[in-house]
Amino acid sequence: MATATFTSGRLPAAQRVATAATGEPAVVRWTLIGVAVFFLALFIFLPLAIVFSQAFAKGIGVYWASLHTPEALSAIRLTLLAAGIAVPLNLMFGVAAAWVIGKFEFVGKSLLITLIDLPFSVSPVVSGLIYVLLFGLQGLLGPWLARHDLQIIFAVPGIVLATIFVTFPFVARELIPLLQAQGQEEEEAAIALGASGWQTFFRVSLPNIKWGLLYGVILCNARAMGEFVAVSVVSGHIRGRTNTMPLHVEILYNEYQFAAAFAVASLLALLALVTLLAKTIVEWRARRQLAESALWNGEAA
């Protein structure tokens, strides 16, 4: 759902110059701007401001120290590990799924699209629960796993699985509309000129979708590092072993170590801001690429 909002491919219909007929009086205009800014300030800026002000409330020394406890460091490591596994796997899946859906017509295509989107419609609590029900001790595969001394739930594999699940559709969702929109002519030309399938993909298709791909990866990574409850359900909260950064924030907060909790939270907030910045840059680049190719097509025609 989050990615239904990728608007980089659009250009405004026209640069709008307000005229008397289609503009509003200045009073109305500034009132509306004022209300919108107030709403965004209340719900966006205030939470951001409180994260950083609380993080540094007890000084930079405490801030630094709370990021250097063994628990915090191990949480950071685990978060990086989970994202480092989940993002590449979902990237590979996303490219394969987008290739099939974007370039071919086949029976069951819309069902496939719906199924790919499924993880976005499932509550994250349920996303974690399904793995507990499958791999947990009382789960369907639990007894078998226990006999073979394999642990998935309350261990790192469970955390990685839950992370993969909640970030599952991100890359695919970005790429499907892009590959669809491009049609097949360029690839067919490449094949006709003797390129192999992989050459066609890497030399023709990939350059065309690189910004969308990058954007999907950025979103996927942000969610992978920030997921809270799906991971919480499968983690077991073993300190120093199965705590990710968001879980560490929760523990610190519930122990009334507010400065430390917000210090770790500030890293995650920073990640969110970097994500938004990257998104803005990618959108800008994609828009430029699009404008250039539109110009190119216009000349060709």
Binding site: M1, P47, A96, V107, L129, G139, F165, L271
Partner: protein, 293 residues
């Protein structure tokens, strides 16, 4: 057989890509989800009903759906307004505001949760003034609604924004030249155009809010029967090793989110077809045909 199920194409990689897609989808999503329903089916109907319709569960549904509805309605109104302001007006800091609208998507929910709680707690920046006029924000249903408004904020804005950007001024100019007042133009021309997109955004914000946990659980106070949301009830049951109970409630939520998929898809299709129709009305070269991805 194969070529009747798939249109002929000169491009390679169909079998490999489809096989990999379906395999990965089944392993990560479909089999675990099926296992949940399998587990739930081991409950008898009476047992299921006893858990799913227990007073505590019903109280949690009421809070979850009620607060989600309030949050989504607030976002419907303010989302349209924010989208309008971002598309139609220019003001200092507009680009910054535009980029930051997506913050609730990007900010980990646990961070949002502790930040909102700190703001609205009785000694917080906004909690204190609210408390002095007798309003309890954090640790009350109001706090739940505040958190759910936060996490649903981008949906309506991002759904309406592209429609407004693609809308051609000619329609409004025509309305104005035919004697419509600015308000009439807005309510009769602009509003119907953006309505499907706004409703799609509303439905998505609602669906997201119903499943939300991280941003709510800190601010809600988590009192059974009063401020306990449904996802938290699942967690509580899991912590007590009541897997059957957790599964029953989870199935209720799953069925609900699957049921919401259909109207959301329909609204998005409606919105899409309406925009295409609007684009057809505009002569070649003026609209954005050919530029849309």
């Amino acid at each position: 057989m194969a070529f009747t199920l798939k249109k002929r194409s000169n491009l390679p990689g169909f079998g490999l890509a489809l096989g990999y897609t379906v395999l990965y989808l089944s392993l990560i999503v479909l089999i675990p989800l099926a296992a949940t329903f399998l587990k739930a089916s081991s409950l008898s109907w009476q047992q299921f009903w006893h858990i799913a319709a227990s007073p505590r569960a019903v109280a949690s549904y009421r809070l979850t759906f009620g607060a989600s509805l309030i949050g989504a309605l607030i976002n419907l109104v303010f989302g349209v307004l924010v989208a309008w302001v971002l598309v139609r007006y220019s003001f200092p800091g507009k680009r910054l505001f535009d980029s930051l609208v997506d913050l609730p998507f990007a900010l980990p929910t646990a961070v949002a949760g502790i930040a909102l709680t700190t703001i609205y707690a009785p000694n917080g920046w906004l909690g204190r003034p609210l408390a002095s006029i007798g309003i309890k924000a954090a640790y009350s249903p109001l706090g739940v609604a505040i958190a759910l408004t936060f996490i649903g904020l981008p949906f309506v804005v991002r759904s309406v924004q592209p429609v407004l950007e693609d809308m051609d001024k000619e329609l409004e100019e025509a309305a104005a030249s035919l004697g419509a007042s600015r308000w009439q133009t807005f309510s009769r021309v602009v509003l119907p155009t953006i309505l499907p997109a706004a409703l799609a955004g509303f439905a998505m914000a609602f669906a997201r809010a119903v499943g939300e946990y991280g941003s709510v659980v800190f601010i809600s106070g988590n009192m059974p029967m009063r401020t306990e949301i449904t996802p938290l009830l699942i967690i509580t049951k899991l912590d007590q090793y009541d897997y059957a109970g957790a599964t029953a409630i989870a199935v209720v939520m799953l069925v609900f989110s699957l049921a919401l998929l259909l109207p959301i898809n329909l609204l998005q299709k409606w919105s899409g077809s309406r925009n295409e129709k609007a684009a057809e009305l505009v002569p070649e070269g003026i609209g954005t045909q050919g530029l849309e991805v």
